[in-house]
Structures are given as structure tokens and as C-alpha cells.
């Protein structure tokens, strides 16, 4: 049994212009100790997927369908006190903007006291995330962005969780701090033997640390594959497009291919395959029916009607081939 089993998760928001499915039939598993990357652009539903697992879907969002099993226990519909307990003890969370996630009127010590449930040893916790114990009595505004993010990581690991969910944990900091923070997170995760769901729009970052990657677009997972295989031979036209759009190191400075077309809106999702309006391989059948996420090779899953055609056209275009 996997640590986390998400099945057909559908999270809907009521808006003035009708219901919006931010997550639409999302299924994935996370094994113990595994790092799963969820990559996607704004509006892809990656953050809502993470929030749904944590029971933190903001109103007016509701989980309309599906199941979320953590360590065998069904969480969908679990009472708030059960979620609170889980979030404290077994699921640690790191958010993008620690400046907002931390309470401005509480010191670091007070945050750590609440997170750990212990009255002392807070300095040791801070040292575990590479911060000086001197910072315990500071308020969040007295810390740098990188320090605040480390405090968030300390809170997340305070009770040795089995699963850490990190949503764009390093997006608000600059390049060097990003790598240092990520290295810290990966080291701690390894020490704890915890699984990690790493949500990011940055495929480069994900590729460095994730065992498997789920690629999301417009609320759906379009590909779910081991990282190395996805990069070497993308199993979905959108995965291939994301790889091509990434600004390369030591490129020749010529035009970037990009994804093509404009981002679709959840308010007006394409019929059939959600990527069909932008896909170079799409034909009429793509707009007719939604392709299911099916196994295409051991460990690989893809939601595409024309995988054969796509595979033919892109053979050898992946990274490192």
C-alpha cells in the first residue's frame, strides 16, 4: 500500500461564471520515501491538488469527487480536528511565501513551540535547518526571505512527518538561496525518510530531485512518469513542449519554441483533451473525447489519443538523446 493514494480527485470552485474544476479527476500515488514532483503552469491545478490532500481547499472550493487515502485512512470528509492532527504530526507543509504563512505577531520560538508541541529544544530544531538559535526570539519581519523559508521547513519537520508537501518552496528567493534551501529540504527529507510532494512550475528544479513527475495542465494530469524517462522521451506533447520552452543553458540564443498558442482558461476548458487547442498533433478526435491517463510502459502513464503519432514525430528530441 502506498503512503498516499489519490483517486479521481475533483475539486470545484463556484464562480460568478459557473463552476470551475481546478482539479479534474486527478489520480496519483506517493510511495514511502519517494519524491513526487508535480509540475505545471499557473492554473494547472497543481496547488489545488496539494491543498486538497492537506484538507486546506480555500472556500468556495469543495472536493466534489474522489478519494484521498493517507496510510490507508480515507481523508475525504474527515473532520477538521482529524486533519489538524494529521497536518501537525504526519504531513508537514512548506508554502511559497513564508512571509504570509508565518504569523507576524509571533516569534520564531512561538511558531516552533506550537509546531513541535514541546516547550524546549527549539534551538536544536532551528539548527537542523541551518539557522542560528539566536533567531528564536525574532519576529518573521526581522528575518530574510531565505531565513523565513527555513523556519517554515523547521515547522514542517518538527514532528518527523511521513509526508512533506512543498508548494513552490523556493520561488520567492534568488538562484543561490534557492539551491541552498532545496538542498536543505532534501537532506532533511532523507534523514526523516519522509516522502515529498514537490509542486513547482520549474521543470529544471523538479528534474533534479524528483523520482517521478506528474505533469498537470488545466486541472488534469497529462503525464505521470519516472523523471529520467519523461525527460529523455516525453510521453505527452505537453511534456515535450514544456521541455522545449525551458530557457537552455549555453543555448545558441535563437528563438525558443515555446508551447504554442495561448494558455487556456479553466472558465472555458476545451472539450475533449484539455491540451487539444495548443497541441501540434491534435485532430478532430482530440476535441471529441477526453483521453484517459493510461499505462503506456512500466511505470509510465499518459493521457493522449495519438501517442503513436506523437512518439514517431518526437523520437530523439528529448534531452540527453
Amino acid at each position: 500500500m502506498a503512503l498516499l493514494e489519490v483517486n479521481d480527485l475533483t475539486t470545484t470552485f463556484a464562480t460568478d461564471r459557473g463552476p470551475v474544476r481546478a482539479c479534474d479527476g486527478v489520480s496519483f500515488e506517493v510511495e514511502r520515501g519517494e519524491v513526487l514532483g508535480i509540475v505545471g503552469e499557473s492554473g494547472s491545478g497543481k496547488t489545488i491538488a496539494a491543498l486538497s490532500v492537506m484538507g486546506l481547499v480555500p472556500p468556495p472550493g469543495v472536493i466534489e469527487r474522489g478519494s484521498i487515502r493517507f496510510d490507508g485512512e480515507e481523508l475525504r470528509g474527515a473532520p477538521e480536528h482529524r486533519y489538524r492532527d494529521l497536518r501537525g504530526r504526519q504531513i508537514g507543509m512548506v508554502f511559497q511565501d513564508a512571509g504570509r504563512a508565518l504569523d507576524p505577531v509571533h516569534t520564531v520560538r512561538s511558531h516552533l513551540r506550537e509546531a513541535s508541541g514541546r516547550q524546549d529544544d527549539h534551538g536544536a530544531l532551528l539548527q537542523r535547518v541551518g539557522l542560528d538559535a539566536d533567531l528564536l526570539d525574532r519576529y518573521p519581519y526581522q528575518l530574510s526571505g531565505g531565513q523565513r523559508q527555513r523556519v517554515m521547513i523547521a515547522i514542517a519537520i518538527a514532528r518527523d512527518p511521513a509526508l512533506i508537501i512543498a508548494d513552490e518552496p523556493t520561488t520567492a528567493v534568488d538562484a543561490l538561496t534557492q539551491v541552498a534551501l532545496l538542498a536543505e529540504l532534501m537532506r532533511l527529507r532523507h534523514e526523516l525518510g519522509a516522502a515529498l510532494i514537490l509542486v513547482s512550475h520549474n521543470l529544471g528544479l523538479i528534474s533534479r530531485v524528483a523520482d517521478r513527475v506528474a505533469v498537470m495542465y488545466l486541472g488534469q494530469i497529462l503525464e505521470l512518469s519516472p523523471t529520467a524517462e519523461l525527460v529523455r522521451e516525453p510521453g505527452h506533447p505537453y511534456s515535450a513542449a514544456l521541455l522545449r520552452a525551458t530557457v537552455p543553458l549555453d543555448g545558441d540564443g535563437t528563438r525558443l519554441e515555446g508551447v504554442g498558442g495561448n494558455p487556456d482558461s479553466l472558465l472555458d476548458p476545451p472539450s475533449g483533451c484539455v491540451f487539444s487547442r495548443r497541441c501540434p498533433h491534435a485532430d478532430d478526435s482530440c476535441a471529441m473525447s477526453r483521453p484517459a491517463l493510461v499505462a503506456t510502459a512500466p511505470g509510465r502513464h499518459s493521457a493522449c489519443h495519438h501517442l503513436d503519432r506523437f512518439a514517431e514525430a518526437t523520437r530523439g528530441v528529448g534531452y540527453g538523446s
Partner: protein, 327 residues
């Protein structure tokens, strides 16, 4: 090479901080030399606190340099009269990191692009046409004219910011992290758009970014800044094989798609030193001398200039004024 668009000569800026009786001087930018010509992109690469944003604001004469000079088309905007300064201002336009912070949220897209035209007294009859041209130039469709900033996607807002910067037909665009708030697919489109506009209009770009691949992609020349000083400078190709340990760290930190490569060991997150080489506390190649004295920018055989004792054998002929004047 066309005529010079923009030049900074040993331009630097200090900020005062603290209370009156304990006022301290913080050096945001020590001294920067750069020049920009039409169809050229100069990239300023560095982290927050490197001085790159200060440099950009000096170049846009939003900030008066404490020392050194700025000139636009050969004229110093700080010595020019009001009318001439306005004319110079027209020629150097800003593109901000994220349009949502830079725009008036109550104004519709067309009004945002029109505003600079109105400020510069362009007659109403011409304005409508110029706004339409601006929209077309950046690939925004006319049906977005009445949308407000929050109703636009991140990519559309960034295009709108570029359209607004372009309507006055400037020679220079100052690009402040133009794609760092954007998703990959949109970033690619905006980078392509910037490339096309430069080719069509002969624009000069002064680009600020903390992302090495972005600077490498757009820039012809690069200045790498750390703690207010240039530590390495040269053609963009220097970023493929950086000499200075700081530039090397920035390159290593560029997380390219590379499964299994893991994360690079990173030096470079300690606060800069006040004495000697500022990068010494983070530098993997540090030795005693680095903590005592500050290295000068020294020209290397391949033409680049590097501020590091590892590369100071070839002493620059136009010796670094700074290392002589400052402690």
C-alpha cells in the same frame, strides 16, 4: 554600431540608513561603467543586494547617482533643463517585473498604454492609433482593450507593460526581471517578442536578472554584480565558462533539466564581507589575501575582466580607480 544610447560612467549610489545621530552609509552600487548601443543588450546579472536594480534605476534617471555620471544620447539628464529632461525621459522606458504591481488597477488596458502618450501631450486623435499599434506590436488582441490588469493573464500583463514602454518610441528599454514572474511557456514567448522588437526597431536593452540562462539568452554583453561591484564582465559567452567563483556559483545554481544530476553544492549565501573581497566569506577558493585587500578588475587574455586574485596576474592598464580610492 550606431550612436551611443546610454552611458554610465563610474556611476554609484549610497543610501543613508538609521536615525540622524547614528546615520550609516550603505553602498548600494560602488561604481559602474557601461554603454549601450542600438540593437545591443547589456545584461546585469546578480542576486538581490548586488546593486543591479540600483544600476537600472540610475540608468532610467529615477535615482540620482551619488558619484559618477549618466548620459542619454550624450546628454546628462541631471544637468539638463526640465524640457530637455522630459525629452530624454521619453527615450528611456521601463518594463517592470510584474505588470500587476506597476499598473493602476482601476485603469483599463488601453488607458494604461495611452497614459504615457497623454503625459507627453500627444494629441487625442493620434493617441488612439498609437495605442492600437502598441497592442499589435506586442501581440495583444484589440478585444483586451477594456480589460483591467487583474483580468489579464501574467503573460498578457507583461506584454501590456512592453506596449506601454514602446508607445513613446524610445531607443532604450530597461528590462527589470522581465520574465521571472512568468511560467516557462509564457517566458519563452516574451523572450521571443523582445528579440523580435529589438530587431525591428533597433532597440537597446539594459536587462536585469538573477537568472543566468535568461541573461545568457538575451544579452550581448554581461556585467556580473556582487555587493555593488562588477566582479566579471565581458561578452555573453563568458557565462559558458565563468572565471569568477561567484559567476561560477550562479552558473551552477541554474537548475537546468538534468534528471539525476541532483543539486550542485552551493557556496555564495553568506553575507558579503565589508573588508577585502566581498565574496570571500562564500568563496570556495578563498585565501588569506582575499580577506585583506580587494582585488581590482583585471583584463584577461580573452578580453573579459575579472575581479579576483586568482585572475589578477594580468593587471589592467586602465587600472581600477576604485581599488585605489577606496579602503
Amino acid at each position: 554600431m550606431g550612436a551611443e544610447l546610454l552611458r554610465l560612467t563610474a556611476a554609484g549610489r549610497d543610501f543613508a540608513s538609521g536615525l540622524f545621530w547614528s546615520r550609516q552609509r550603505t553602498v548600494a552600487l560602488e561604481a559602474l561603467d557601461l554603454e549601450l548601443r542600438p540593437r545591443e543588450t547589456v545584461g546585469l546579472l546578480g542576486q538581490s543586494g548586488s546593486g543591479k536594480t540600483t544600476a537600472l534605476r540610475i540608468a532610467g534617471f529615477l535615482l540620482r547617482p551619488t558619484r559618477g555620471e549618466v548620459s542619454v544620447g550624450g546628454r546628462d539628464p541631471w544637468r539638463a533643463g526640465g524640457r530637455e529632461r522630459r525629452r530624454l525621459r521619453r527615450d528611456v522606458q521601463y518594463v517592470f517585473q510584474d505588470g500587476s504591481d506597476a499598473f493602476d488597477p482601476r485603469q483599463a488596458a488601453a488607458g494604461i498604454v495611452e497614459e504615457p502618450l497623454r503625459n507627453f501631450g500627444v494629441p487625442a486623435t493620434d493617441r488612439r492609433e498609437r495605442v492600437a499599434e502598441g497592442f499589435a506590436a506586442v501581440g495583444l488582441t484589440a478585444d483586451l482593450r477594456d480589460r483591467h490588469p487583474h483580468q489579464l493573464s501574467g503573460g498578457q500583463r507583461q506584454r501590456l507593460g512592453i506596449a506601454r514602454a514602446l508607445v513613446l518610441e524610445p531607443g532604450t528599454l530597461l528590462l527589470d526581471e522581465p520574465v521571472s514572474a512568468l511560467d516557462v511557456s509564457l517566458a519563452a514567448q516574451v523572450l521571443n517578442l523582445l528579440r523580435d522588437l529589438q530587431e525591428q526597431r533597433g532597440l537597446g536593452y539594459l536587462l536585469v536578472s538573477h537568472e543566468l540562462p535568461v541573461v545568457q539568452h538575451l544579452a550581448d554583453r554581461v556585467l556580473v554584480l556582487y555587493a555593488g561591484l562588477v566582479v566579471e564582465e565581458g561578452g555573453a559567452k563568458i557565462l559558458s565558462a565563468p572565471a569568477h567563483p561567484y559567476t561560477q556559483a550562479l552558473r551552477a545554481a541554474a537548475l537546468t533539466v538534468d534528471p539525476g544530476a541532483g543539486l550542485p553544492p552551493i557556496a555564495g549565501v553568506a553575507p558579503p564581507a565589508q573588508r577585502g573581497c566581498a565574496f570571500a566569506p562564500s568563496c570556495p577558493a578563498v585565501h588569506d589575501r582575499c580577506r585583506e585587500a580587494r582585488p581590482a578588475l583585471a583584463r584577461q587574455p580573452d578580453g573579459r575582466r575579472v575581479r579576483c586574485f586568482l585572475f589578477s596576474d594580468q593587471i589592467d592598464n586602465d587600472a581600477d580607480r576604485l581599488s585605489e580610492e577606496l579602503p
